[in-house]
């Protein structure tokens, strides 16, 4: 088993004249929290979407846990252990919190048509649901329709779904955006707890959070990787200061 969980080589994606990914290279080690930062429009979300399969690259390769996945549809990547949250929270609004998590639980139990038995009462869901609820602190909202959760709770639920089934790599696209100070702290705590258990690729604008949480940082500008290194290295990197931190 290699200690690289993800190897991205020369990933390229253009939208007309805009190159959203420009020969992007990225290596993520097992167990690390790897932050992906860059100014607005740098191509962070586009990169995440290519990793998850929501969009296909024009060229380049993505090797995840030893498997080339760059052309694989999203659901198959998810089954290999690649989970994600979206920049704009994406949950099942019309279902209850427990139904949301139950779906994530059964997703990893293989393909199976069951027509009769109440899904929430199946042994698998009964066994795993309490821990899934507790992990994201939503035990008391189990029966609530997800639509009526607060913004922060929706975010927690989304991360909770992504965590179900123990993914090998978790892609988080700005999990703290719009959360308010309290929510940001909660989310930072959650990510902190996951450190060491799950490898995380974190896209985040909040630099304090990035510096506090990340093991390594990759800096993206105009779709291109301009720097990659430890927190200390990136803090003092001249190009980064000019291109990114300087602007902030």
């Amino acid at each position: 088993m290699s200690d690289r969980i993800l190897e991205v080589r020369d990933l390229t994606k253009s939208y007309g004249a805009i190159m959203a990914s420009r020969r992007l290279c990225l290596d993520i080690d097992r167990g690390e929290v790897h932050a992906l930062i860059g100014p607005n429009g740098a191509g962070k979300t586009t990169a995440i979407n290519q990793l998850s399969g929501d969009i296909l690259p024009d060229s380049g390769s993505i090797v995840f846990d030893g498997v080339e996945i760059s052309r694989m549809p999203p659901h198959r990547r998810a089954r290999l252990g690649l989970a994600r949250s979206f920049q704009i929270t994406s949950i099942f609004d019309d279902l209850t919190v427990e139904e949301n998590l139950a779906l994530a639980i059964i997703a990893h139990a293989g393909h199976n048509f069951r027509f009769w038995r109440n899904c929430l009462k199946t042994p698998l869901v009964q066994r795993e649901l309490p821990a899934a609820l507790e992990r994201v602190d939503l035990d008391r909202q189990a029966g609530t329709i997800a639509r009526s959760l607060s913004h922060g709770e929706k975010r927690q639920l989304e991360v909770g779904m992504a965590l179900t089934g123990r993914p090998k790599l978790l892609l988080l696209d700005e999990p703290m955006a719009g959360m308010g100070p309290g929510g940001t702290v909660e989310m930072a705590k959650l990510i902190g707890r996951l450190r060491g258990e799950i490898t995380i690729l974190l896209v985040e604008h909040d630099m304090d959070a990035v510096f506090a949480l990340a093991d390594r940082i990759t800096v993206l500008v105009y779709g291109e990787c301009v720097a990659c290194g430890t927190v200390a290295e990136i803090r003092h990197h001249p190009t980064v200061r000019a291109a990114y931190l300087g602007e902030d």
């Binding site: 779906l103 059964i106 029966g143």
Partner: protein, 328 residues
């Protein structure tokens, strides 16, 4: 939450009791007509419930559901004709009037057609899905119009209802209670289905198609099977309708029937299962009453529907159960 649950259960029980007691009361009053009208309502309710599974739970807005009703009806009509003239269908299959054979076949053919139509339609979504399901149904509609062997435009008459051991389907009372039992069974099945693992995937895919793939579930096959289950319900309704009216015609496949079924679902309440039963009841009763005064009865039904859709999120059933306000 559990209080609205008890209220729903009470309303469903009251509705069930109403349907069970209707024939004896009508007979006591010396009226036969209500029994045949309500048989029709029960049959349309089966079709409307199956469409609700598709639209209300699966988010698959089909405007071609009549195709399955029509196919189910034609299976009854065509097998009846071959049974009468003694000539085997395609030189192979003898005709039949045996409900135990004909009805499952009607359901099966509707389900298989739904698999074919669904496998092509479900590759699209939104407006395209609506149009493509409509197009398939209209294709079948014109196909049956052109099918001279089975009456073409004029349709097929059925001279005697199907036979079922132990029951006399020619007896309106027997037929009524059979339709009621089949509606109850289909309701129970769909009620369990939407809470099952399969149903959860269907509802999830309808709520957020991108998220369901992102958690690792490819929803296409689930939605396809759901489409077939709904088609099967339509086929059952068609087989019953052919028996009730003792007549089948291409009109059963026309988009107007698809539209009427959709109206019943919306009127009763999308995604509420029992709502479409109420919707079918109200729709057909209104049609019956208004048609006595004017042939332009749709002029009155239209505004009523608009009001219900604008002000009641879960239709008339939602209004009854107290879960229906537009705002949250």
């Amino acid at each position: 939450m559990s209080r609205s649950g008890t209220r729903t259960a009470a309303i469903v029980a009251a509705g069930g009791l109403f349907f069970v007691l209707l024939p004896p009361v009508a007979t006591f009053a010396g009226e036969d007509y209500p029994i045949s009208l309500f048989t029709r309502i029960l049959i349309y309710a089966i079709a409307a419930v199956s469409l609700d599974l598709l639209i209300g739970y699966g988010g698959m807005i089909s405007l071609g559901h009549a195709a399955f009703v029509g196919l189910g009806a034609y299976v009854v009509g065509i097998l009846h004709q071959h049974g009468t003239d003694g000539q085997p269908l395609l030189g192979l299959l003898p005709g039949s009037d045996n409900a135990l054979l004909v009805w499952p076949l009607a359901v099966l053919i509707a389900a298989l057609s739904a698999l074919v139509i669904g496998s092509l339609s479900l590759r699209t979504s939104g407006m395209h899905f609506i149009m493509i399901t409509l197009a398939f149904a209209q294709m079948l509609y014109y196909f049956f119009i052109g099918l001279e062997k089975y009456g073409g435009d004029d349709g097929l008459s059925i001279y005697s209802r199907n036979r079922l051991p132990g029951l006399d389907l020619g007896n309106d009372l027997h037929f009524y209670y059979l339709c009621l039992s089949l509606l109850a069974a289909y309701l129970l099945f769909v009620h369990r289905l939407v809470q099952s693992r399969f149903g959860l995937v269907i509802r999830g895919a309808s709520s957020n198609s991108r998220r369901i793939e992102a958690i690792g579930i490819h929803s296409y096959r689930y939605r396809l099977v759901c489409f077939a289950i709904a088609g099967a319900g339509g086929g059952l309704a068609g087989a019953l309708l052919a028996n009730q009216t003792e007549f089948v015609s291409p009109g059963l496949l026309n988009w107007t029937l698809s539209g009427e079924l959709m109206v019943m679902v919306l009127l009763g309440g999308l995604g509420s299962l029992f709502g479409p039963v109420l919707g079918a009841t109200i729709f057909l009763l209104l049609e019956e009453v208004l048609a006595m005064y004017t042939e332009h009865w749709m002029v009155f039904l239209g505004p009523f529907l608009v009001i219900v859709v604008i002000f009641l999120k879960r239709g008339l059933f939602g209004l009854l159960t107290g879960t229906g306000q537009r705002h949250e």
